[in-house]
């Protein structure tokens, strides 16, 4: 779907490039996560890929065609979900959606979407009366109103309660399962873990790592097995090499003679990987 080669971008007032030689591809029908600390260039990458920042260096191919060669019709097939509110606050949700729908050749059933995200009863309220969470959900509906093939989502569940967050994530997964492609930018590692087929970690304007969440965990996780067992009414623990524990006499002796309480491979979390790669805490 997208092939990005040696992408660099510098804001006019900056002395240094914000993006430096990024190369990655996003496949058809996958959810691709772009992760990294604030200010690292995730949003800039997304803005370049949505043609909001045209003066980039390098090459971006969209459906094997130079992104720069696309006109405004490019937007007929994409949906962009912003983190911040983007609607006319003195218009109702319905008036906003009706206005934007008329700009597209193809329209989704927005009533069904509003119903799904729990806004159908509020569709005739002015957006100014919406809470932050309602505005986030309306942004999401706005992103889908033209039946896009590609979705760019920036923190789509930020500020949502678990129930609404679950609804949004389910819709994103259904979108992917129906062949849609998603570029997801988020700080929420639970979302990444649940949604993303592949992730790219950015640091200092560059991509430091791209892989599936599972492979990253394997790569960055310690290959060990942790076991807790009971001995003399006390909880004991031991750690074994994941590749050799089956032949380890101590391990065999524990599982044969002790009461095992817990046993699990030592998996690292995406949070840990984030910190290791970017050197920054995820809540920054």
């Amino acid at each position: 779907m997208f092939q990005v080669k040696d992408l660099s971008f510098r804001y006019p007032r900056n002395k240094q490039d914000t993006l430096r030689d990024l190369s990655f591809s996003i496949n058809d029908g996958e959810i691709f996560g772009l992760l990294g600390p604030s200010g690292v260039g995730k949003s800039t990458t997304q803005k370049v890929m949505t043609k909001l920042l045209p003066d980039y260096r390098g090459e971006i191919l969209f459906r094997n065609q130079d992104l720069k060669s696309y006109g405004r019709d490019f937007y007929q097939g994409i949906g962009v979900g912003f983190e911040m509110p983007v609607h006319f606050s003195k218009l109702t949700a319905q008036e906003n959606l009706t206005f934007f729908k008329k700009l597209y050749r193809e329209n989704a059933d927005t009533d069904a979407l509003l119903e799904r995200v729990g806004l159908i009863k509020d569709k005739d309220k002015k957006v100014a009366e919406f809470s932050k969470g309602m505005k986030v959900r309306l942004n999401f509906v706005r992103a889908l109103l033209n039946n896009p093939r590609v979705l760019f989502l920036d923190e789509p569940t930020m500020g949502l309660d678990p129930k609404n967050s679950r609804i949004i994530k389910d819709i994103i997964k259904e979108f992917r399962d129906q062949g849609g492609t998603v570029l997801l930018t988020t700080h929420l590692m639970n979302d990444v873990e649940e949604l993303c087929d592949r992730v790219a970690f950015m640091a200092n304007g560059q991509i430091e790592e791209i892989d599936t969440p599972k492979n990253l965990k394997l790569k960055y996780g310690a290959r060990s097995l942790e076991i807790e067992y009971s001995e003399n009414d006390q909880i004991q623990s031991a750690s074994f090499n994941l590749d050799t524990f089956g032949r380890d006499p101590e391990f065999l002796q524990i599982i044969q003679n002790k009461t095992v309480l817990t046993i699990h491979s030592s998996e690292t979390s995406l949070d840990d990987i984030f910190i290791r790669i970017t050197g920054v805490e995820t809540d920054e």
Binding site: S43, L52, Y75, V86, H87, F88, F99, K102, Y104
Partner: protein, 241 residues
């Protein structure tokens, strides 16, 4: 796909919902009040001045106000990722601004026509307002591009009027005596606007009116080129650049 009608109707709806149209109508009523409280019976001299002030200042303000709200509410971002062209976006706003100015013209013309003496060509006024309002809407775009806040816009507008409109008004009131200075004013688009408006009362030479109309059209074309060209920079800046 032509999105201009949708954008134009959207602009009109927002002018109404954000009470910008109400403010514009309020100004029209103010002009009616000015006429009501003045003791001048024959309005053919003062009427073009009222229309001049309204068509220039309100055109800039309408563009500035709508863009200010779009910027404040983040709606510009979602418009930028919609399948609309720069020219559709600009023309929709210009057309909505002209419509509002024509509505004001209709209100004050109707009042003046029925309650005072007014001998002006209405069609001439309509044509003049379209040209003047269209030109100043484009000025409004350039000023809005430069302004970070609404106060910035008002300041830029104030400077524009001080430099370009005040000398024309002073000349209209006969306060500029130097012939050379008076002729120099023909370089100003505001002078062309004034010539067009007083021309509807039959004042001025035909060539002068044609020259002024052509001058505004040509300057408008150049201005439009700048507005379009700088729109990309504006969009990039609003997107974070």
């Amino acid at each position: 796909m032509n999105n201009l009608p949708t954008l134009y109707l959207g602009e009109l709806m927002r002018l109404r919902k954000y009470n910008i149209l109400s403010a514009s109508l309020f100004v029209a009523i103010l002009w009616v009040g000015v006429i009501y409280f003045s003791e001048i019976q024959e309005l053919s001299t003062i009427f073009p001045l009222l229309v001049f002030i309204d068509a220039t200042s309100m055109a800039i303000l309408l563009i500035g106000a709508t863009m200010f709200f779009e910027r404040e509410e983040g709606a510009l971002k979602t418009l930028f990722i919609s399948p609309i062209t720069r020219s559709e976006y600009i023309w929709a706003k210009v057309s909505a601004g002209i419509s509002s100015n024509l509505l004001t013209l209709l209100i004050i013309y109707t009042y003046a026509r029925f309650f005072r003496e007014l001998d002006l060509s209405f069609l001439g006024l309509v044509g003049a307002v379209i040209l003047i309002s269209g030109f100043h809407s484009l000025v409004g775009f350039l000023l809005s591009y430069r302004s970070r806040t609404f106060t910035d816009l008002l300041m830029s507008m104030f400077i524009y009027f001080l430099a370009l409109a005040l000398p024309v008004v002073l000349d209209l009131l006969g306060m500029i005596e130097s012939k050379f200075l008076s002729n120099l004013l023909y370089l100003l688009p505001t002078k062309a606007a004034q010539v067009l408006l007083v021309g509807t009362a039959g004042v001025g030479e035909t060539w002068e009116i044609i020259f002024s109309a052509a001058y505004l059209l040509i300057l408008g074309g150049i201005l439009y080129w700048f507005v379009i060209k700088r729109f990309t920079d504006f969009a990039a800046r609003e997107s974070g650049a």
